[in-house]
Amino acid sequence: MSKIHGSFKHTSGAFTLDAEFTIPNRGVTGIFGPSGAGKSTLLRCIAGLTRARIATLTVGDETWQDESRRVFMPVHQRSLGYVFQEASLFPHLSVRENILFGFKRIPAAQRAISMDQAIAWTGIGAMLDRMPTGLSGGERQRVAIARALLASPKLLLMDEPLASLDEPSRAELMPYLEGLHRDLSIPLLLVSHSLREIARLADTLLVLRGGHVTECGPLQSLLPRVYTESGAVHEDAFAVLDATVARHDAPYHLTELQTVFGPMWAGEVSAVSGENVRIQIAARDVSIGKAVEAQSSIVNQFQVRIASHTARPPGNVIVALVPVQAPEAAPLLSLITRRSWDQMALEIGMTVFARVKGVSIVR
């Protein structure tokens, strides 16, 4: 399978990026980390906007950088699309001229995306003849995405594309990003400080801390570890699972999903039977019991094994729960109090019942 492999060592002031990673050359890779972890620097190094002096980068079978052989492909020769935090549209060009900037500069034979396609995906058809100054933040970012797509990139890089937007604009842009993931086969590297954003979009998760890659792998299995191994307890932690739509219970407006934990009922979704969806379960919506509770409003109960828990819990503990039959599967997370943990005498390896109150489908 085609991969992207990179290794960068770059010092700027007091900060040193020393990152090495291998990720699939397809799907969405979320680059997550606290501010100052080097997320943007890493993305800039991948694009070639910052030249790390000790570095290698291969994208599929192309070498973009290998400093040991003094190979450095200049940015303008790399087939990439870059979306910055601020849309950074050219102020002297109309929306149409902006999106055609890259398009005009690649040979017709290499154009993988037509102008009509890019306009349709980003919904900017009505603003083509306007100047960037008159656009809202969300509109500008959509133009920036269309502009990057029209350069027919083999790799899309997005640096916090939603961070500079207000909540309504963010909500407006999110479906477009999801649409890109669904309809395009271009690998996308998405930098974000929001795990929620990454969980909605990404397949692969890369975690940066202090300039180092601390985690890198499939999102579903890594996400719980990010929560349980970081010193702090995230009150809004959640797990992401893959599921298949099994059937609908129309009278009750419910949908049954097939998951690795067993059948799970969720609020009715529009997806048809057999369709694969991604679901999110908040840790605060999962409680732990030692036996099946028959008289309960909670319908989703699963026998699970305690895989791990937060290392240094203050008042609350986040517990990772895996199916008894499939301990390697992506776990559920449960947020319980430290007192419950002690009173129930829970310990790692114990078999318990997870009760799931809320399931939300993200795509």
Partner: protein
Amino acid sequence: MDSFDWSPIFLTLKLATVSVVALVILGTPLAWWLARTTNRARVVVEAFVAMPLVLPPSVLGFYLLFLLGPNGPIGGLWESWGGPRLVFSFTGLVIGSVLYSLPFVVQPIQNAFMAIGDRPLEVAATLRANAWDRFWSVAMPMARRGFLTAATLGFAHTVGEFGVVLMIGGNIPDSTRVVSIAIYDSVEALDYPNAHILSAGMFAFSFVVFLIVYSMNRRADTVAR
């Protein structure tokens, strides 16, 4: 008015036009380098470019006379290659004007280039534009206001020069006798009516130039907002 001599006016406009064209051609790469370089020599070059702002024109004129004169290091070499005399000629005036007005052209262009920042150029690079392409398709159009200001100020400042012209140009009709010299001459000859006409013309010209520059800046600000 039959006897009014238009030649100083035409000569002044010709000198200012030729000087501005030369200044923009020479000043643009210099301003680009000053705006983009991280080289520590930058401040030294900046200081040299700014010096005509404070240096008495007679100092500049004196050094030019020395350097460009037939026995000077540059003038001597030039004439030994068969070049025409530089001092007391139109060419010499253009050289003097270019140096004298250099800060008025380089500084607005440099400021305009710096105001663009790195981002638009980085975006252009990710959209397959090479360095040359980025300069022409992003930097130049985004800095166009700076060019307008630079050309206007350079033109006006050249029209207003006196000391340098006096030192290296003298007072040769149709060759170096520009308006400012003609005014000085008229006063010396007690021809006050002629001095009045030329002075009032210069006065009105300077006012109109700045009126245009400031109203353009104001309009551009309003549009940007």
